[in-house]
Symmetry: D2
Subunit: 337 residues, 4 copies
C-alpha cells in the first residue's frame, strides 16, 4: 500500500503514520520526494486497511497495490478452471451454449423448447422458476412447480438445468432440481446467498452486478470459492451506463480482462446485455470472437406472449441462425461450438 502524504504534512504526522502502518503488521518505508513524502507499506494488504490509513492527519490518499481477491486470481494457479455439470462443460475449447426462455411458463412449453434447443446444439437449458422482478405486480415465477418442469425437461433432453436462486434458504430446494445455480445480477452482493451457494458445492453461474467493478465481481466469486466450492462461472451481462438505446451496455473487454486476472471461465449474456432481440446475434458473435467460454441466451417460441423479457428474446429460428453464425466465428478463433 502506498500512503501519499500532503505536501505540507509535518514530521510528526509522517512519524505517526509510520507507527500506524507498523501496528497493522506491515513494514513502512519512507520515500521523500521533491514535493511530498510517500510511505510504502510492505506486507499483506487486506481489504479494509485503506480505510484505517486514510483518516490519518496529513494523509492525502492511499493507493492499494495488490488485488483484493486471492482464490479467484490467476496468480493462484496456471490452470484454467473448467466447470462441468450434467454434460455442460464451460471453460474448454468448446463454447458452451445455455439457452431457454426467461421464465418457465408451463411443462409443455419448457419441454418443447428444450427439445428444439437441444437439437440446435445447446448444452444447457435456462429458465426462471424464481423470478426477481422490479415490480411486485409482475409475474414472480412458478417456484417449486417451475423447478419440477425444468427437471422434466432435463429428463426429456439431457440438457443441464441452469436456474436462478434468490434467497439463502431456497438453496437446498433449487439445488435439488438444478444442475447449475444462477446468482442474478441484483444478488451479486447478497453475501448470505453467496455463502449458501458456496456451501452447496453446486456449479454456479455468477452474474456481474449491473454496476459492479471487476474487483467487486471477483470478490463476489471469492465468497463462493472461500466456502470450498470451486465450480464458479463468471457471467458478463451488461452494465448500467448513460446509454439508453440498449437496456444495458455490454462491455466485452471484460472477457479478455477476466481471462487475464482470473482462472474462472467467462460466459456472456447478450440478451440482457442489450435488451434488444435484434442485437443478440451480433453480440453473441462478438463474444465468441473475443474469447467467451459460453453464451446464455433467451429463446422463446412466441416472444410476443412470453411472460417476461419479450423484448430481448429471440425465436428458435433466429437462434438456429445464431448458432450457425457463431460456430463459424468459433472456428475462426480455434474453438468449437
Amino acid at each position: 500500500m502506498i500512503v501519499v502524504m500532503k505536501p505540507d504534512a509535518t514530521a510528526e504526522q509522517i512519524d505517526h503514520m509510520v507507527g500506524h502502518i507498523r501496528s497493522l503488521g506491515m513494514s513502512p518505508q519512507v520515500l521523500r520526494g521533491t514535493q511530498r513524502t510517500v510511505i510504502a507499506a510492505i506486507g499483506d494488504e487486506r481489504e479494509g486497511l485503506v480505510e484505517t490509513l486514510e483518516p490519518g492527519e496529513g494523509v492525502e490518499k492511499v493507493l492499494p497495490i495488490m488485488a483484493p481477491y486471492k482464490r479467484a486470481s490467476s496468480e493462484l494457479t496456471n490452470e484454467r478452471t473448467k466447470v462441468e455439470a450434467q454434460g455442460l462443460v464451460v471453460g474448454g475449447v468448446k463454447v458452451a451454449v445455455i439457452a431457454g426462455p426467461c421464465s418457465v411458463e408451463n411443462e409443455k412449453q419448457i419441454v418443447s423448447i428444450a427439445k428444439i434447443l437441444k437439437d440446435m446444439g445447446a448444452t444447457g437449458l435456462r429458465g426462471g422458476a424464481f423470478k426477481p422482478r422490479t415490480s411486485p405486480y409482475s409475474f414472480q415465477g412458478h417456484k417449486e412447480d417451475g423447478l419440477k418442469m425444468l427437471a422434466t425437461a432435463r429428463d426429456a433432453t439431457g440438457l443441464a438445468i441452469v436456474t436462478e436462486v434468490m434467497a439463502p434458504d431456497h438453496v437446498p430446494l433449487v439445488a435439488k432440481y438444478a444442475d447449475v445455480l444462477q446468482i442474478g445480477a441484483r444478488n451479486m452482493q447478497n453475501y448470505q446467498l453467496l455463502q449458501a451457494v458456496g456451501d452447496s458445492g453446486k456449479a454456479t453461474l455468477l452474474k456481474r452486478g449491473m454496476s459492479a467493478t471487476i474487483d467487486e465481481f471477483l470478490l463476489a466469486a471469492e465468497y463462493i470459492l472461500d466456502r470450498g466450492n470451486p465450480n464458479v462461472m463468471l457471467c458478463e451481462r451488461g452494465i448500467r451506463t448513460y446509454e439508453e438505446h440498449t437496456r444495458f451496455t455490454l462491455p466485452l473487454a471484460t472477457v479478455p480482462y477476466l481471462h487475464e486476472k482470473s482462472h474462472l471461465p467467462v460466459v456472456v449474456d447478450p440478451s440482457h446485455g442489450t435488451g434488444k432481440a435484434r442485437l443478440v446475434a451480433p453480440m453473441a458473435k462478438a463474444s465468441v470472437a473475443c474469447g467467451a467460454d459460453g453464451l446464455i441466451i433467451e429463446v422463446h417460441e412466441d416472444p410476443e406472449h412470453a411472460m417476461s423479457d419479450g423484448s430481448q428474446t429471440i425465436t428458435p429460428a433466429t437462434f438456429a441462425q445464431l448458432m450457425k453464425e457463431c460456430r463459424r466465428v468459433a472456428e475462426a478463433v480455434d474453438r468449437t461450438m
Copy 2:
C-alpha cells in the same frame, strides 16, 4: 402506453398490434401521423406489458405513460408520510439525525458514542451488527452480540436503533432489537428481504441501490408497502458514476424529485455519498437546504481505528460543528433540527 410503429409498418402489422393491445385488456387508439403510425393503448398499464408489445412485427418502440408504482406514489395521498420509531420522527418539520459508527465494535464503544451523540442532538443511533462487506476477508460484524450492544446503548440513551438486516431469515432476530430496519444499497432489489421486512411491519430505512433508477427505488419501496408496512423512509446514499474523486456521486436533486413523486420521507447519507470525511459536513448542509427529512452520518471517536469505513467517518467534534451549522441551514428553510 404508446406503441410507435416503424415508418414502413404494414396495415397488417398495425392491425395485429391493435388486436394484441385489445387482448391485454387495453383500448387501442390509432393515430396516423405524417411519417408513421402511433397506437395509444389506453387502460391499466402494468409493468411487463412493454415487454410483450415490443417484439411485435413493425414495432419501433413502446413508451410507457404511467409510473409503475402505486402505493409509493404521491398520487395516492396528499398527506406526507411521517415515520416514527422510539422517539425518532422522520418526515416532520424537524430534520432527524441518525448518527453512529459504521460497525458496532464493543459495548463500551457503542454506549459511549451513543451518549455523546444524544447530547449533540441525534435522535437515532446507527451501527452495524451484520455487515455486508465486499470482501469475505473483511470484518463481518458481531451479529447478535452486536444487536445486544445496540439495545444496551438504547437503554442508556433512549435513542432509536437503526441497523441493517441482510437476509430474510434474520428479520425476526434484528427486529427484536432494532427500532428501524435498514436495507442496504446492495440489497435494494433483494425481493425476499423486502417482503420479509414488509411483513415485519417495522419502520424501515431503504437505501437506494448504487445504480438504481428512481422508478426502481420506488418499486423496491412498493414491495414493502405492498405487504402492509407503511413505515418506509427512502435514503439517498450516492450513485455509481464515472467520478472518482468521491467514492460515490451524491445526486441531491433526488431529494426534491422524490418529494414530488412520493409521499415517503427522504433521508440523505452524506458519509457513503461522498466517502470522504471532509465532504460530509458541506453535503449535510446541502441536503438540509434542499429539503431532506433526515440525515444519517457515520461518527466514531477514533476513525483511524474504526473497524470499517474510517475514510468517511467524522469525529464527535466534527459532528458537533456539523450539527451547529446544519441547524442554521434548517432554520433558513423553516425547519428545525
Copy 3:
C-alpha cells in the same frame, strides 16, 4: 410528440396545450385515459419543440416519437454509404484497417511504420500532427511539419492519410495534406468545426464523444452531411462509464445498432476503446465479428518511447498477429480484410 398531462390537469390546461400544439404547426389529438389525458401532436417534430411544450401548466412529460436526425438516418436511403479516399474504402465487403502511431514523431518514424503497416495489410495511415492533449504541458504535435511527414509517408506507400483537425481555421491546412479528416471525441460537438469539415467536402472520420448518446452522435454527423459532405464514417471509440480497469468502456452493440439506424459506415477504435495494449486484439476481433466496417489501431515500433498513448499502443509484431486473426474472423462473417 406525445404530451402526457398530470392526473389532476384541468380542462383549461388541456385546452391550452391543444392550442399551443396547434400554434407550432402540429395537429393535436386528445386521448382521455382512465387516469390521465395524453395529447398526441402529429406533424413534423423538430428538436426544440419538447422544450417549448414541457413548461406548460399541467404537463407531466413530453415524449418525442421521431428521431431528430434526417440525412444520417437509414430511412433516407436503402443504400449503405461507402466512403472512399486514396484507395481507402470504408463500407464495403472488405473491412478497412487504419493503423499508425498516436503522434507523428519524425519523418523517419512515420515512413518506416507506414511501410511496415502497408505490407501487413493496412489501407490507411493514422498519425497525429495536431494533438488534443488533456494537459497543456504534454506534447501538442508537430503541426504542419507533422502533416508534411504524413504526406511523405503517403508518397512512399500509397496509404490514405487519416489525421485529426482540431479547429475550424485549421481545416484548409489539414485538408491540403490529409485524405481523411478526423474529428476527435472531444470535438464531436464542436459545431463550427463540424461545419468547416462539412464545407471541405473531405472524407471524414467522426469519433463518438465519450459521453455522447447515439442521437447526439448522429446529429453531429448531420451537421457535416447538412453542409453537403456525404463522406462521413462514424467511429465508436469507447464511452466513459464507472469502469476503471479499462480507460474507456467499448460498447460494441453500437455497431449493429448504428447499422440499423444509419446508412453510414462504422469504424471501431479498440486502442482508445480499451486503453490497454493487451485488449486491443480481442476487441478488434469482436468488432469485426459484429459487423464493423473498419478498424483504427495505434501501432508504434517502440511503444515504451512513443510520445503519447504508449499504454494502448501495440507493436508491429502484435499488429501482424492481429491482422491474421481478424482476417479469419472477417471470413467467418463473409467479409474480407
Copy 4:
C-alpha cells in the same frame, strides 16, 4: 509515480524499468514486497509519463502521485482567487448571481428581463448569442446582433454580460461586447478555444464537460491560466450518468472538493444541472449551503415561448422567490447574496 511490477516480473525487467525511470530524469527507488516489487519514481511527474512506463515488460500498473495541474492548484497559493468584471465579483463573501434567458431573442426581451433581474439582485446577465445546439436544425443564436443586444442591456442596467464563445476566431468579437466569456461544457476540451480565451485576458466562466473528471476540469482551466489569464471561474453544471429523471446529475460535492484542490471560485448551474424548472430552486439553495461562490440561472418571462431550454427555465416570479430563499441560506452559512 509508483510502478507496480507483476508478481512474476524478472530481475531484468525490474532493472530495465529502473533505467527507464532514470532516463526520464526521475530517481527510482526499488521496494521489494512479500508478493511483488514496486518502484517509486521520485521527481517531477508530468502528464504523459504514465503512458511511457505502462508498456514496460513486467509492469502491472503505474500509479500517479501528484496532481497533473499546477497553476489551478491550491498548493500554488493560500489566497483564494476573486474574479471581477463590470461589478460582478465571484469568489468573495457575497454569492454572485448570474441570471437571464438561454438565448438572446430580441432587444426588447433582453433589456426587459435584465431590468427585472437587476432589481431582484442579480449581478450578472447571461444570454446566448452564439448557441451550441445538438441539432443543426435548432435555432443557432443571433450571433453579433445578439451581442449588441446584450451590450444594450448592460447599458440599461449595469449588469455584467456573461455569454458563450464557441470558436477561437470568435474570441475578439465576443470579447468586444461581453464582460465574461463563457466556455460551454461541450467545449471544455476545445484546446484552441481555451488558449484563445487565455490570450484574451478576459474573465472566463469555464463549464465542466459533461463527463469530465476533476483533473480534466482543472487541466482545462490550466490551459487558460497558462496563457497568463488568471480570471477563471469554474462552473459545475451537471454530469452525464445513468439517471434519467433529471437531464444531468448535479454532483454538488464538487463544490467543497474544488475549494480544497483549487484556489479558483466555483459557480453552480442548477438549470442545466437538473433540466427541470421545479428543481432549480432547491438545488440553488443546496449549492449555496455547500459553499458555491456563485449561481448561474436561466430565467425567461415566458418559458413556454423561449427559443431554447424552456423545460429548465424559471419565471421572474420564481426567481424572486429563489433569491429570497437563497439569501436566507447564504446568511446561515455566513455569506451574503
